[in-house]
Symmetry: C2
Subunit: 421 residues, 2 copies
């Protein structure tokens, strides 16, 4: 633990940004860090879609935050929910009534899914942001097949899966569900043909994967078609209920609808009383502090961080990690500042590339100059994800699960738990 005179740093959120910051500063005795999160685990969000489609069990894409901080004596891990910030008094307010005083505060609270003013759609079209979301979606998908087997006359609607939003998450979910139906489940039912499941990917915009180059998106579209996924672009959803979704083209009866269309930042802007952008993000200054609050940093998905002309840094793990590492440098620099006064240069996002996978054997990688598709890209994607998984054990376990699933067409975690709707 750090001494009484240490700089009190409170980090809210142990996602990629907050965790990176805590890892970087956690051995520095000049800081007394509290790492707060609503959950006891850090979630490796890029693989959440695999947990939602039974490929990996939840325990392989999430780790106890407290465990990750074991070798970081300056960090106190704290399970708790923030409900506000008293910027005047420099205190964070927790749901249990407690207040945590800080010298510096970092808000890395991420985003949740958003229904564009249609919050009543939430129960019919769950989104995918947490382990609980993934487990619930996995239950719904598997339960749809169980119901169809029990009631084969309703199989058509029961085996229609609508995914709303064709960003990377929507594309990856659509590919994985199609694969699950066509490959893993195909021999296990007596009254239905699991291969006949319909997977429909609905996108409001003119094409899938708008954040990727056009030729890569076109490749992904062909790969989706080969997996039997129906892709409908320019198809904004206008209604959603327990029976399916409605678009301009009419009603689509689908027992399972998954929402991958929009996000809304956590209320960090509200807490600070600063202006937010359209999706609730805090437009931060070049040193990632909130306007008017030099001691408060906002990083990750909940920050609007300038990148290149007309664009902001994307809401992906590498961006959050870079921001976490940058804030560590700023905070260290500020302590030194008392001696030599050298300011840290502004944050610059370095884009390392975009990746998305479509079923087994297919992926697209956009490194800017270098673009890859197909089998090689898929293996690279796998290696990259295993590399970034935290902890040697998870790397090994995930590698084994993937190899096994690949060799045997056998996903690792086909469980329905809880009470799937």
């Amino acid at each position: 633990m750090s001494g009484a005179g240490a700089h009190r740093l409170v980090i809210v959120g142990a996602g990629f940004g907050g965790l990176q910051l805590a890892l970087k500063l956690g051995r520095d005795k000049r800081f007394a860090i509290t790492l707060l999160d609503r959950r006891n685990h850090h979630t490796f969000q890029p693989l959440l879609y695999q947990a939602a489609t039974a490929i990996l069990p939840p325990s392989q894409i999430a780790w106890p935050i407290r465990r990750l901080m074991r070798g970081r004596p300056s960090v106190t891990t704290r399970l708790g929910e923030v409900i506000g910030v008293d910027a005047e008094a420099r205190e964070v307010r927790l749901a249990d009534g407690e207040r945590l005083a800080y010298d510096s505060l970092v808000l890395a609270t991420g985003v949740t899914h958003a229904y564009f003013g249609h919050d009543d759609w939430a129960p019919f079209a769950p989104g995918l942001k947490t382990l609980e979301d993934a487990t619930a979606i996995r239950g719904r998908i598997l339960m749809a097949f169980e119901r169809a087997e029990a009631h084969p006359r309703q199989a058509e609607a029961l085996l229609t899966f609508a995914i709303v939003g064709a960003g990377p998450t929507g594309v990856e979910l659509a590919g994985a569900i199609a694969e699950l139906a066509r490959t893993h489940l195909k021999d296990e039912f007596r009254h239905i043909d699991a291969r006949r499941a319909r997977v429909v990917l609905l996108e409001a915009g003119p094409r899938i994967l708008p954040s990727f180059a056009e030729d890569l998106a076109a490749y992904a579209l062909r790969a989706l078609h080969e997996l039997g996924v129906e892709v409908r672009t320019r198809s904004p959803v206008t209604a959603c209920d327990a029976q399916g979704v409605v678009t301009d083209a009419g009603r689509l009866d689908a027992a399972t609808v998954i929402w991958a269309a929009g996000v809304q930042a956590s209320p960090a802007a509200d807490w600070l009383g600063v202006a937010a952008d359209r999706v609730g993000r805090v437009p931060v200054l070049p040193d990632l502090t909130a306007p008017g609050h030099p001691e408060v940093f906002v990083i990750g998905d909940t920050a609007q961080v300038p990148w290149k002309a007309g664009a902001v840094a994307p809401g992906i793990a590498p961006a959050a990690k870079q921001q976490g590492a940058y804030v560590a440098r700023v905070l260290k620099g500020r302590l030194k500042d008392r001696l030599n006064g050298r300011p840290t240069p502004p944050f610059r996002y370095r884009h390392q590339g975009s990746l998305a996978t479509i079923g087994r054997n297919r992926a697209i990688i956009d490194f800017g100059a270098l673009r890859l598709t197909g089998f090689l890209a898929w293996w690279l994607w796998g290696v990259a994800h295993i590399y970034f998984l935290i902890g040697a054990r998870s790397r090994l376990a995930v590698s084994l699960d993937w190899l096994w699933a690949y060799a045997r067409n056998e996903p690792a975690a086909r469980l329905i738990t809880g009470k799937p709707k």
Copy 2:
């Protein structure tokens, strides 16, 4: 699938007994088998306590029933809940209103935990029978440490774990929680000392592990003491609430109470309209049929099966599996019977031994003549459990997880999910 003239066999429950029966008959085209279960997975109950204490993830002790029946063409797997049996019409009634006709019926519906007339204790003292139970108990145990870290002044009650009932499950839970606190969690908190957690094992009877020989139980007691578990025999629980439990010796403040004290059979006896024993089991005839219902078999924990003088077959996996295999022989014999009329001899339970483990490195094995304790028994226990796990993959995965946890003091699944109390 089996032909139209096949013998319609409905098996209710895919635990050890029902599963064994379906595996044995599933390739026999003379049968048209429906294997019904409320869940999509078979649970390896002997390792549930490890899922409840974060040692193994749920996906490693449960497998989709449908997957296990992939190579059994005579079996249709069906997710569904039975609410009654119309023995007259030979139909099983499902919660969704459907009826399934049978020529033979096997009820293998198991037990649930029982509170001896105090069902109001259930929310405060969850029992351990399903994966959901295990996940919820895991969440409660881990959450108690999180709460204590946030509120160290309440640490004493928050870090007191009361386990009610000192059969194998209670003993194994107590040992695993003590180990979790003393070994795995000890370096991860800043405001509490996880090693100071109190684990109290309460038993109404005069000694722990009444189903084991006295010297083995005495060894287990010493092993529990060495782990720091407080064992209180002759201490029936007289009250239970959110703050803890009450025994004759007074109140024990314990934020976490786990119920491992009693079981109650599922309502198979009610469904059939036959008399039940004290815990709701159906006293079956020597061929495991229910009295007055030669076409209805009751097996596993929900059957009262004679064994040796004054004793009935114990509610353990090997007993259920032997009964499942026996019913397969009876049913095959009955089909042959039309030709040669040779009846199957009565069921005889062959006791293979009892095992229980106490933390790491300690176990007791009671083979009757041969009794083992200590490190060797613990390894044998591990080998036996891995051997009986279904599927090469789980065997490999569980072996790796155990070896890893053993080598690194690092449990595999320390996640709090859902909304733990």
